[in-house]
């Protein structure tokens, strides 16, 4: 007797597969992660479960949730068309750079004042005094040159364009030269990182003694910063509003327009579109460009909502994005490429993100050196195992696996 496993495509997709499979993957993935955590670093499983449970209701993860939802939407647009944008990182980075360019140069001008004149400006409305003096010993004051609302809109528009252009390059290469977009978008992330570093040491470096040459830009004028929802979270009203707007528009476009419909068909059957007389290349380019534009907006949310300053990338693995552009890939996969699933997936992944942080802080009392493991690495373990399990289990949504016994 010999046993064989046979994989066949299901005629009907698995019932409730869109819910069961992501849920099962999370459970199995977390279980595998606990085994690895305990086996390699003696992290007690109960601590892991505690950290995850705690993170599910933590308000701290709200900002991560907002950004992951927006990025998840950004990514499922091309993913629906089987165009794989791995380059959200680079697109966010360019969004940040261009937001900083608007926020730090176009929307403000710098008044150099001597220390003795400083008190005059400190309390003047619309003025923002940079905390440390400039190289020459004088102080720099940021004065708005335009309406703050208009400046924020301009930041968003320019960031969106920057992200779109960055993605467009890969889109054109894929559509017209048939160069795999996975490799190009990935490589372009690294180009964006180094361009970012070049810019924070160059054109956008700060003018004060603590920023100039230290890989830091000036700080953003407080009037241009997004407003926090509460002190318990870094999430902002503007970020949440953008998330809702982007989600609704993207849902409408994907479900209610011919553009969205054809994108979805492009993913499963490009030949049908060609026979229908549709320019498939145009759709590939547009899918990537739109995706890049939305990712670019996240750059503004990150810059004007959280960081207020460009900070150099010390090592290539610790960009200011915290690799959220990669994590968002997990969100769009977990959503099974259905936009309605994106917020749920984003919530779960944001919790895992937060769980890494919570777990790290609760490791203090554990012996054996595991307390030295960073929250980032703990997050990678959790996310990595969930994602791997999901990738494998996903097969069951569309395929069935049977065991066949063969007599010999």
């Amino acid at each position: 007797m010999k046993m064989r496993l046979i994989v066949t495509k299901r005629v009907k997709p698995l019932k409730f597969g869109g819910i069961i499979i992501p849920f099962l993957s999370i459970v199995v993935g977390i279980f595998l992660a606990t085994i690895a955590l305990y086996g390699l670093a003696r992290v007690p499983p109960l601590l892991v479960y505690g950290a995850i449970g705690q993170s599910l209701i933590s308000p701290q993860m709200l900002q991560t949730f907002v950004m992951l939802t927006i990025l998840g939407v950004a990514l499922i647009i091309p993913f629906n068309a089987a165009v794989w944008n791995i380059g959200a990182e680079g697109q966010i980075i360019w969004g940040m750079i261009m937001s900083a360019f608007i926020g730090l140069t176009v929307a403000v001008r710098y008044i150099i004042v001597s220390p003795s004149d400083l008190p005059k400006y400190t309390n003047m409305p619309g003025m923002f005094v940079l905390p440390t003096p400039t190289v020459s010993g004088a102080y720099a004051v940021e004065a708005l040159t335009m309406n703050p609302g208009a400046a924020i809109c301009l930041m968003l528009i320019v960031a969106g364009i920057a992200g779109a252009v960055w993605a467009l390059i890969a889109g054109l290469m894929r559509a017209y030269l048939d160069i795999d977009e996975v490799a190009t978008t990935l490589i372009m992330n690294y180009i964006a990182y180094y361009a970012y570093n070049y810019i924070v040491y160059g054109p956008l470096q700060g003018i004060t003694i603590s920023t100039s040459g230290f890989g830091l830009s000036n700080a953003l004028h407080p009037a241009l910063r997004f407003s926090r929802i509460s002190t318990a979270t870094t999430a902002t009203w503007e970020g949440v509003a953008l998330m809702i707007a982007i989600f609704v528009i993207a849902w409408f476009v994907l479900r209610q327009t011919t553009f969205g419909l054809r994108l979805r068909i492009l993913g499963s059957n490009p030949q049908v579109l060609r026979a229908a007389g549709i320019n498939v290349r145009k759709y590939i380019v547009l899918a990537l460009t739109i995706s890049g534009a939305i990712a670019g907006l996240v750059g503004t949310i990150l810059f004007a909502g959280n960081l207020y300053q460009l900070i150099k990338i010390k090592t290539i693995t610790t960009p200011p994005t915290h690799n959220i552009g990669y994590t968002a890939i997990l969100v769009s996969w977990l959503s099974m490429l259905d936009i309605r699933g994106v917020p749920i997936a984003a919530y779960i992944v944001a919790s895992l993100f937060q769980a890494g942080i919570n777990l790290q802080s609760s490791l203090g009392g554990v012996s054996g050196g595991s307390a030295m493991i960073s929250s980032g690495a703990l997050t990678y373990v959790l996310i990595g195992f969930v994602l791997t399990t999901f990738t494998v289990l996903r097969v069951f949504a569309e395929y069935s696996i049977k065991v066949v016994r063969e007599g010999r």
Partner: protein
């Protein structure tokens, strides 16, 4: 490649079950098909050695080159084994396939239309080789639709019709007409179906194709100087055996395949507009319906539902989709064509093949304002539905003065609907008849010569 659902295969009196091409090869049975199965970026020796189990994985290919060279001379083929396959002509690729089959130790060579596309001079070489192979104790099964070819090389001829075995005859004892009768069956003399009423075409030319040359997939011309015209209120039926350039002709007209030479023009704003190599979008925008070959691959998107398959076409929806309107259209077509489906929002992949085909035909007829280009539009349908679809098409031709270019491998269909019949063979339109004057026997002969 396929595993039989029932029946048995015996090799040298022993029953065998083949689950992969390798199994068959191990029993000395090799297949060479119309489409070369070689890998282009590999050299000839590499392509061949991959199947030779007596060479281990770490064998240096250069060392076997001489062996391959000797073998190929033995077979009568002159190729440098160190050439990459993509550099070869179609003929040379087929020669390599043959060499490969022989080197794999084939006792039975199956040639499935393998030499159909070859020029006559090359064919003669193959015939010679086949004779030699047979005289050395091998067997050759040559699958062809060209009766003269079969008569020229074969010792015995077996006829299959629609998957059924008709009979076997000794070549010396038969004529072309005998074999033709076996191929087309008892119906060959009479028309089975009642002809649908003939339409008298208008003078207005809707589709004008002149001296069209189109490349096939394997580097040879599939369409060689085709000239045809379809007028408003006319069904032009193109009869022919599959693989004689019909597919490439239709794809070139629809802008899906590059035209090397010649012109395709379609009626627009009262005059003929040149649409050669202008892209499918341009052609479609002139009010053209298209029922492609392989409808499941090129016609409908299986993952999407009926409504989505309608809304996908620019002729049906633009910009924001009004789903209410689309649903109305979907239900109208479902009723008209008696599509069996739970609802208009059922994914197409859950429907039967015939019902998918109905959805496609219904959709394309609903958008065809001037011209319908159809390739085997009723192949997947049962006879009753097929006749119904043909009637609907003909009605549109009669009442709305639609022009139809119908390419079909089914002669009954051609005779039932066409107003004009053209016969296509080896990339050329060999003859055009008014349907009423066309004699079935003559058409058949032109198809298989």
């Amino acid at each position: 490649m396929y595993v039989p659902d029932s029946g048995e295969i015996y090799v040298n009196g022993k029953r065998v079950i083949f689950t992969s091409p390798i199994d068959a090869i191990r029993h000395g049975i090799s297949l060479v098909s119309q489409i070369p199965q070689l890998i282009g970026s590999l050299t000839i020796s590499e392509n061949i050695i991959l199947g030779l189990e007596r060479f281990g994985m770490m064998t240096n290919i250069r060392r076997v080159e001489n062996y391959i060279r000797e073998e190929s001379e033995e077979v009568g083929i002159k190729v440098d084994p160190n050439t990459e396959v993509w550099k070869l002509s179609y003929t040379q690729k087929q020669l390599v396939e043959l060499l490969r089959a022989v080197m794999l130790g084939a006792k039975v060579l199956m040639l499935d239309e393998a030499i159909t596309f070859l020029p006559i001079r090359e064919k003669r070489k193959f015939y010679k080789f086949m004779r030699k192979f047979a005289s050395q104790g091998g067997s050759v099964i040559l699958i062809t639709h060209k009766i003269p070819e079969a008569l020229e090389v074969a010792d015995r001829i077996s006829v299959l019709r629609r998957g059924k075995y008709v009979g076997t005859v000794e070549t010396r004892t038969v004529t072309i007409d005998d074999v033709r009768k076996m191929m087309f069956g008892e119906r060959s003399a009479q028309i089975t179906y009642e002809r649908l009423p003939t339409s008298t075409p208008d003078d207005k030319v809707v589709l004008d194709v002149r001296d069209l040359w189109v490349m096939g997939d394997y580097g040879a011309f599939s369409v060689k100087g085709v000239k045809l015209q379809v007028r408003a209120g006319e069904v032009l039926g193109i009869a022919g055996v599959a693989g004689n350039g019909q597919l490439e002709l239709v794809q070139a007209i629809m802008g899906l395949r590059k035209v090397s030479k010649g012109r395709v023009a379609i009626l627009a704003n009262g005059g003929l507009k040149d649409v050669t190599n202008k892209g499918t979008g341009k052609v479609r925008s002139l009010g053209i319906g298209y029922i492609p070959d392989e409808p499941l691959k090129f016609g409908v998107s299986m993952e999407n539902n009926i409504e989505e398959n309608l809304a996908m076409l620019p002729a049906i929806a633009k910009g924001i989709i009004k789903w209410g309107q689309i649903r109305g259209l979907a239900n109208k077509l479902i009723n008209e064509f008696k599509v069996v489906t739970p609802s208009s929002r059922t994914p197409v992949k859950l429907l039967s093949g015939g019902n998918i085909m109905k959805v496609l035909v219904a959709r394309e007829l609903s958008i065809a304002k001037k011209l319908l280009v159809a390739y085997n539009p009723t192949r997947a349908l049962d006879e009753v539905t097929a006749v119904m679809v043909r009637k609907i098409i003909k009605e549109k031709v009669l009442k709305e003065r639609l022009a139809v270019l119908l390419v079909s491998e089914d002669l009954d269909e051609i005779f039932q609907v066409s107003d004009t019949i053209a016969v296509m063979n080896s990339g050329r339109i060999v003859k055009t008849f008014p349907a009423e004057k066309a004699e079935r026997e003559q058409v058949e002969k032109l198809m298989v010569m």
